[in-house]
């Protein structure tokens, strides 16, 4: 009990410090934190569904992009909170549809389907804009400073991790784990596969949509090709896998080293970024097969053992 209380206090303190970050971080540091929080949200939300079910989804950017695009469309006509509500509704609606449609798909079929989905959404939006509205390329002029966006993303990341924590405590979390292990057993144990999977998918997608919506004012100009950049999906997967997709804090812990690595590489080797990045990736796969979190845990366990000895 006291441990839980202590833990809760630690979390709150951590949040408070993070919330004060704009006071002592410069514009650059804050920009870095914005990306960090955005990816923490995306990776955690991704792992919420994909971690336990092992459905590797590349649709992240479909939802992220929808969030951003919705803001681009409505930012001049609707008050900001309503824009967010519209965004989340569209994201959730699409996720529900996709969730039900893909229930029969597993493994790599789902992977590529989800990739195709992101591309399809992008193509359809493009077509719609070209043929119906005649505007391709929209502007977002919202009066947000970096710190405003940072605070929103921090809150979203906290909420996302909170939801992840909550799911773990509930039967929903258990159900997902079973589904990931063996769907047939899950069904015969009384787990409603479709409802569980779709619920989680929608939840995860809604969070991603929000992340895109909140971050978009940073880019001013929005075009489908910009916001539906598949790199975002790939990075999300990689960060989550790197950290450990089945753990609550895994994805977040995958984001941090990668973000730092990117930052360092793009500054130190602007011309050879790709090569170093690729090499790092391969090294990571070989050296940290089970993700950062479990590597850290093993290391800690060993230290503890040595201390005890």
């Amino acid at each position: 009990m006291t441990r839980t209380v202590l833990f809760a206090i630690a979390i709150l303190a951590g949040l408070a410090i993070l919330a004060l970050a704009p006071a002592f971080l410069g514009e650059y540091g804050l920009g870095f934190m914005v990306s960090l929080m955005s990816y923490v949200t995306l990776a955690t939300a991704w792992a919420m569904f994909s971690g336990p079910t092992r459905y590797i989804s590349l649709a992240t950017v479909a939802f992220f992009g929808i969030g951003a695009y919705t803001v681009a469309v409505f930012n001049e006509t609707l008050p900001y909170p309503f824009v967010l509500i519209v965004a989340i509704s569209i994201g959730a609606l699409l996720a529900t549809f996709v969730g039900f449609a893909t229930l029969r798909l597993a493994g790599v079929y789902f992977v590529i389907f989800s990739f195709g989905l992101a591309e399809l959404v992008r193509q359809l939006i493009t077509w719609f804009e070209v043929n119906i509205t005649g505007t391709l390329g929209r502007y977002i002029f919202l009066p947000f400073e970096t710190r405003h966006i940072y605070w929103q993303l921090l809150a979203l990341a906290a909420v996302t991790i909170g939801i992840g924590f909550w799911i773990r405590q509930t039967r929903l979390g258990l159900a997902l784990k079973v589904i990931g292990d063996d769907e047939l057993v899950a069904a015969h144990s009384g787990i409603a596969l479709a409802r569980t999977k779709v619920l989680l998918f929608v939840l995860s997608a809604s969070l991603m949509t929000l992340a895109g919506a909140i971050q978009s004012p940073r880019w001013v100009y929005i075009e489908p090709a910009i916001v539906f950049n598949p790199t975002i999906s790939f990075l999300t997967v990689i960060m989550a896998l790197l950290g450990g997709a089945t753990r609550l804090w895994g994805p977040a812990l995958g984001v941090i080293p990668l973000m730092i690595l990117f930052e360092w590489l793009s500054a130190s080797f602007p011309d050879h970024f790709s090569i170093f990045l690729g090499a790092m990736f391969i090294l990571i796969v070989f050296l940290l097969p089970k993700g950062v979190l479990s590597a850290v845990e093993t290391r800690l366990a060993r230290l503890k053992r040595e201390a005890n000895a």
Binding site: R54, I56, A101, T102, R104, L105, A106, G107, V108, Y109, I112, F113, F115, G116, L117, E119, L120, Q123, L124, T126, W127, V130, N131, P230, F234, V237, I238, L241, L242, D271, H272, F273, S274, I275, F276, L277, G278, A279, M280, F281, I282, I284, V285, F286, P289
Partner: protein
């Protein structure tokens, strides 16, 4: 009009199939989802370009050399990079995740090297970009060659894989790598072979495509994605499926362009892909089985 649309579509589809064959081998048999597939093709394309532009070597000659290099290189990559992952993986999901990560790294390395060596410019040369009349439809010879070759390679490999004993061992490794040793199959060797053949196919695809497509060091992803879609649509490891799916995509895309709206051509391929998957979750023709 109908004829020309169909012809254009088939020829385009031939390119798609060509792009997908190698990946189908690598993913279907060796179980390595090679995200660097497109980079391999681009590398082969650059190879063809350099030999053509500076040594005057016909890409059709390169077509004999590049696959050998692709084979050797892929062999090496499998041995050095993939094999440890395969050995380490406790299950298929683990291998899938690991190979996605590792080949994603490979993608960046290859892309980075090509950026340094060739720069980021668009590259293109013209070879066999001459018209030929087939059923009254004018098509570039280069595309016809690519179409013919993809048809040939796809069918030959399909027959080999479904009809020969060697093919049966390939499929056995693809389907149940744990059981294959029981019948004396050296899983590691077969998987490496398939991966290397996939590399050779990617290289030939790259050389052929370079004759009519403008490419750049960063353009590999496009190929990989098209290839993945075709492979999945046709059924993992099913080369005939890949061939047919590739052709189908090409035809649909062209029909939408001509009769409906070019703006929806790419959307239609994704839509078709998604519909196929929902209708037949294991791909049009199922996986490697005959």
């Amino acid at each position: 009009m109908l004829i020309s649309t169909l012809m254009f579509g088939l020829v385009l589809g031939g390119t798609y199939a060509l792009v997908a064959l190698g990946l189908s081998m690598q993913y279907g048999i060796s179980r390595i989802m090679n995200l660097a597939h497109g980079e391999f093709m681009i590398a082969a394309a650059f190879c063809a370009y350099v030999l053509f532009d500076f040594a005057g070597l016909s890409p059709l000659v390169t077509l004999l050399i590049a696959p050998l290099i692709g084979f050797g290189l892929s062999w090496l990559i499998y041995t050095v990079m993939m094999h440890p992952l395969v050995k380490r993986a406790a299950n298929r999901g683990q291998l899938e995740a690991d190979s996605i990560l590792a080949t994603f790294g490979l993608l960046f390395i290859l892309q980075g090297i090509m950026l340094v060596v060739f720069g980021s410019d668009f590259t293109s040369y013209s070879y066999l970009n001459i018209p030929i009349d087939i059923f009254g439809v004018t098509i570039a010879v280069s595309r016809v060659v690519a179409f013919g070759l993809s048809l040939f390679l796809g069918l030959v490999l399909y027959v080999l894989i479904t009809r020969s004993r060697w093919g049966a061992t390939l499929r056995a490794v693809a389907l149940s790598p744990a059981s294959a040793p029981l019948v004396g199959i050296q899983v590691d060797k077969v998987a490496r072979q398939a991966f290397a053949i996939g590399g050779a196919l990617a290289a030939s695809g790259g050389v052929l495509v370079s004759m009519f497509v403008t490419f750049s060091a960063t353009g590999g992803v496009v190929f990989t994605m098209k290839a993945l879609i075709v492979v999945i649509m046709g059924g993992v490891g099913n080369l005939l499926g890949a061939l047919i799916a590739g052709l189908a995509l090409g035809v649909i895309e062209t029909f939408v362009t001509s009769y409906f709206d070019p703006g929806l051509s790419l959307a239609s391929t994704y839509l078709l892909f998604i519909i196929v998957l929902l209708w037949r979750p294991q791909g049009l023709f199922g996986s490697v089985r005959s």
